[in-house]
Amino acid sequence: MTDLVPTHDWQPLGQDKDGSYTYYRKVEVYQMKWTVDIGECMVAAAPYGGPIAVARDPKKLVKATSTQKPMIRTYTSSGVLISQFPQRDAIIHSMSWTSEELLVILFTHGLVCIYDMHGEKQLEDSLGAQSNVLQASYYPDGVVVLLEENTLRHITFEDRKLSVIVFPDLGCTTAPYTIQCRPLGEFQDSSMLQVYMSPHENDSAKGTLFMLNKLEKVDLNTPFQHVLKVAINPKGNLVATFNSNGKVNVSTANMQKNISEFNTRSREPPNQLLWCGNDVVVCCFLPEQIQTDKPNNTKSLVLIIGPGTDHDKYTYEGPVHAVCEGDCMRIVSNMRCDIVERVPVSTTQIFGLGSLEPSASLMDAYRDYEMENASSVNSLRELKAEQLTDAVTGCIDAAGHEWDTNVQTKLLKAAAYGKCFCRGYESDAFVDRCKALRVLNAVRDPAVGIPLTLTQYEDLSHIVLIDRLISRRLHFLAYRVSTYLDCKTEKVLVHWACSKVQAIARMKTNNKVADDELVRAIQEKFQLCPGISYRDVAETAFRLNKKNLAIQLLEKEPKVSDQVTLLIGMGLSEMALVKALDSGDTDQVYYVLLTMKKGQTDDELIATLHNNPAARDLFLTYCEHQDKKLLKKYYVTMQLHHQIAFHALRAYFNETDFANKLRLLAEARDNFSKRNDRKQEVDMMNEQDKLLAKQNVYAQNKKDPRFNQGFSVAATLRLLIFHKDFKEADSLAKELNVPLKMYHWIKLKALCKYQLWAELESFGKARKNPIGFAPFVEECIKAGQSFEAKKYVHKVEDYAARCEAYCDLSMFEDAIKTAEHEGDTGVLEAIRTRTTDAQHRQLIETAIRKIG
């Protein structure tokens, strides 16, 4: 098996709980494609296989090669140049990457610049301090900075915004040896941030290590010599210190318990002190730090120290830069990129020399099988069912942690072979692992250069990985990964389109053909993804001064709200209005109109409304509620006289002041009179005017405020009748042209309502009676006065109606007599349905017979 995975360089560092060794190995991942001498440079590499930023180190003497401005370059982990951009005219103190893979550059004079990996500036802000930066300790989204006057500032760059928190005075007279911040878990609250500070030996403050936070400073009372370097493991529970006596100590985070000690026998602190995983501490010594017999040492030394006294060392030609990854360590040198990682248990179980684990047996069996050796099955039969399942799981797990695709394939094939012998094996884990590996292998490709381990990949999530591919502008790969993992591809496509737009904008030639071509290309790709938004692409175009392109792109945008807001943002409110109206979404129409209302004069607005009837209706409805003045202005401008009249009339009903009421009425009348088809309304307004005046007089004369409650003519007449002023009622009815018939009804009903029976009787004797007496009977009955009703029943003109009235009053004999007299059997039949009295029925029978 040694041919498959070399085990000779596995270095045991510490033991597991069960006594088995924990091995570490170094894997060469890339041959660097760059020509950088990191010895001359300041290097910052992002974790999770992230990009590497390289800038000239101002502290190192470098042979000047050109007169060019110094450049900052970003590379992939495999050393492929991503971009280069000129450095500002200032001295860089340090660089780091945020969790979004943005490059933070801290200048000595206190300026912070944040770029993306392509050199697009995202942020530039100052710390607001007068003095220079001495030290900086970074964590993913922030940094703690030590300034010259020995004060600490905590700076965060979340949401691409800089916020500075000033720590209380350190109380140091000399600059401390080192500071190291320790963010607590998922915290983003600066009060939770802790900082280790190791004061200089010349400092007046005694003690070797302090723990600071925003509020207090605690002496940790460590028994060490002066601490020159501090490193915290990824989990945050262990702290490694390099002390002035050359010893590396590992302690618990609170420094209460010393876990291990290792003597490096080096006077000088290592260039880097960091963790590889959570158990192993690493010291990187640069060539110039190493005292050897040879004068010009060019080799770096990487010392890895396990728990206890186990250790190992790697030597490199030239300087190195090590990156602490959560589960391993990446070492970047001029020539190579290596990963130092713990050999997974599953791998040791399979490939460990003399391993008797089930997974090792499975691997053996598979090899036999491949060599067409029939004994293959036998060795499998020796395994129990659950052992076989464990073996398959072991192979799948080991495959995940391998870098070599051949090894991955072998292990997966072994697993596939083994699971055939497992009853009811759930293949999900196998399939998921295969998918994950396929993605990992794709991104590990030197051309992409993201050397992620499986653990990192799972920690990062595939969504973030896709985002990172997008931000590297690897759109095609991102798209393929998205579709392969059934993820949404919108983000990829949109970002791709935005990059295209940026590219065309950079050319600075307004070429319509190119624009059209681009729109077509984008549309072609976007069609793959129905419902995808063009908004961001259009916005990018607009921001880059490509207004026409933006409009063209917006045309394709399916979501109206996105179209509308952007068009308004572009100052094209008319076009936004058209779009909003087309959509039928009134919310959008209102949004445009209300925005227009803020920014335009009334006249402009009215002109726009005039051209868009649908918008006009909506807006006038709004005005009716919220802006009556503008509503009227619209009507006046458009010369809609009847609308002005109705508008005045509406106001009239809300008005209580008499003079104002008259004024509004006059306004309504004048406007009605401007139209030929509203003659009747003009008359009505005049009559209302008269009525109003009369009502006002009545209210005073009769001391009855009800007259002023805006009654109709009829109601006023009824009230007059209540006051028994018949004369005035008659004259008002006449003056306001109330038809006689109607007036009779009004009077009749009012008299009955107010129980004015004597008056009713004299009313019944009036010369003219256009409604007849049937209503008299009816109304009296309704008022429960059959006695009164009987006074009028004989006067009902129509005999059929009279019979009906008789029946209503239970005067069946009279009814029958009348019907008989008229000889109408139909009426008699009708009477029969109304009575149950046998005698009446008898009479009806006789009458019918008589007529018949």
């Binding site: 919108e490 993804c529 129905p530 419902g531 995808i532 399916p558 979501k559 109206v560 959509s583 039928g584 979404d585 009134t586 919310d587 959008q588 209102y590 949004y591 209300l594 009837p613 649908a614 006009r616 209706d617 909506l618 409805t621 709004y622 009716e624 509620h625 919220q626 109705f646 009339l649 509406r650 009903f653 809300n654 009747q680 309304e681 009505m684 209302q688 805006g710 009654f711 109709s712 003519v713 009829a714 109601a715 306001l736 042209n737 109330v738 038809p739 018939k741 109607m742 009804w745 009004i746 009903k749 409604i771």
Partner: protein
Amino acid sequence: MSSAKKNDRTIDETIKLTQLKDFIKDETVEALKHPEGTKKILCLDGSVTGALMSVLDSTDLSNTLKPLGVVDIQLLNHEKLKVDINSPKSVVYVVRSDMTAVKMLGRRIKDDIASSRAVYVHMVPKTTEVCLRILDEYGVRSNIRELNSLELDLIPLEYDFMTMELDTCFREMTLDGDTTTLAHIARSLMKFQAFFGHIPIVRGKGRFAEKVATMMQRMGSEVSDSSKSLAPEVEALYIFDREVDCLTPVLFQQTYEGLIDEFYGIRHQLFTPPFDVSTEDPQLNGKTHLLTAEKDHVFTMLRGSHLKTLAADVQRATQEVKKQMDERNHLDKLGDIREFMGRLPSITEQKAKLAVHISIAVQVNRMANSREYKALLEHQKNMIDCQREKEVSDFIEECICKDNPLPKVLRLVCMFSMTFGLSPTKYQALKTQLVQNYGIQVLLTLDNLERTQLIQPGGKRANMFTSVSRNLRLRMETQKEEEKVKDISFAYGGWAPPLVRLAEIAITGKLQWNAMEGIFNQYPGPTFGTPDLPDDIISSQSRVIMLFFLGGITYGELAALRWVKALAQERLAEEGVETSFIIATTKVVNGVNFVEKLYGAVR
């Protein structure tokens, strides 16, 4: 009996609208629960009360909401919040997102600012730009702690019936030109599709219906992975626009349910008889009854009954209940007895319901047979048949003179205009009388009615009315034996509601779309629709068709629809196709509220 069986079967067949209801219910409870654990005042906009009650299956909101921490329910109006020192420190507003309501909301929050009460607002069905703007204008937006949308939209009331409880939909679209509601409707139909799959066929009649269909199409293109992945449960959606026929809603109703609504008013399916319903059990008096098929079998039998057959139908129901009760006398086997005992509670309940309905039917029958109502129905029939114009016209004038309620008079005027047609002189005379009797504000209302074309002075209505009526067989001139009525026109005593006629044509499923389109085109307004799909797309074994009535539907039309539905189901079942229908509308309307909503109200 046969109809009862049929209904039982339909309950099983129809797609599970309860899913949708449970979803809305959960959302609503969740919204009203918030902020959890604190006591709060709930301030309700009158127009959402009904929807809320329906969603929560509640006849008494204060009881239902008590467990959610609501200690006080107040109505949103122009007055201030009624509070004292002990009042809760939070207030939750549930407000329809229309301007009138939001203005009241703004004022109310402003008046209560000093109390620093925590304000939570739920906008039904969606927070809109205008609402936000108005709140800004009152300067209270920052005082609202949380402002959310509460999607109380299509609420399933029965296994086959849904409403959106939108009171002012018809007015907003036809009069105000405010089509916001249409977007709400389209959105709610999209939501429906999210539950029950994309509906392949969408057809309909009328300009607003067409707008809704267009919006749905557009919304469909906005969402990427929409309901298209779900297997379609509903085959076709037909949207009918109220504007196509405004005559039917103003007509006086003649079915049991319609008459209850006409005389007493049914609010959100709830009816509280203003008279005593029982002499035996005084507890029943003054109680509110939920009129729904799901819980009231007797009502299912009676709801669509025309007043002329009401007595007979009550008799039939009585006998059926009696028959069920009588079964106890023929129980020999232990198993039968046990089975009967199991059913007994429901039978007893039915018996109690029957007693209530008999009392209601007696009252309704008395009112419907009064001289006044009979005269109305008589003249209504005259108008439908376009005869005795003079008599009808005199009748209307007399109604005005007699100071009859304004809605009633306006309904008659509208009917007159839509049938005989109103000559300008005639209209002028009526207008004068109306103004003299009811006051000058009637002018504003008349203007509104003209703008919605319920009144068309000088229109050549009569001719068109006659021809359309003939083409669509809307009038039944002779009605000899009511018992044997074989047409939807039974619901209005010889008038087939046109929308129901169109629906009938659509759901009997015999016609190809282009033939159907031809018939639809005989009515004014645009016709639109998906052409016929190849047969293999739609499973022919079971079909669900949804009918949406935009702008409201009356109980009379519902009765006619249910009748068509039962008939179509029976016929299709013979052909081996199981069919079910879902009826949806914006609101159940009657003549009074239909006209009242169009008042030139003084705002």
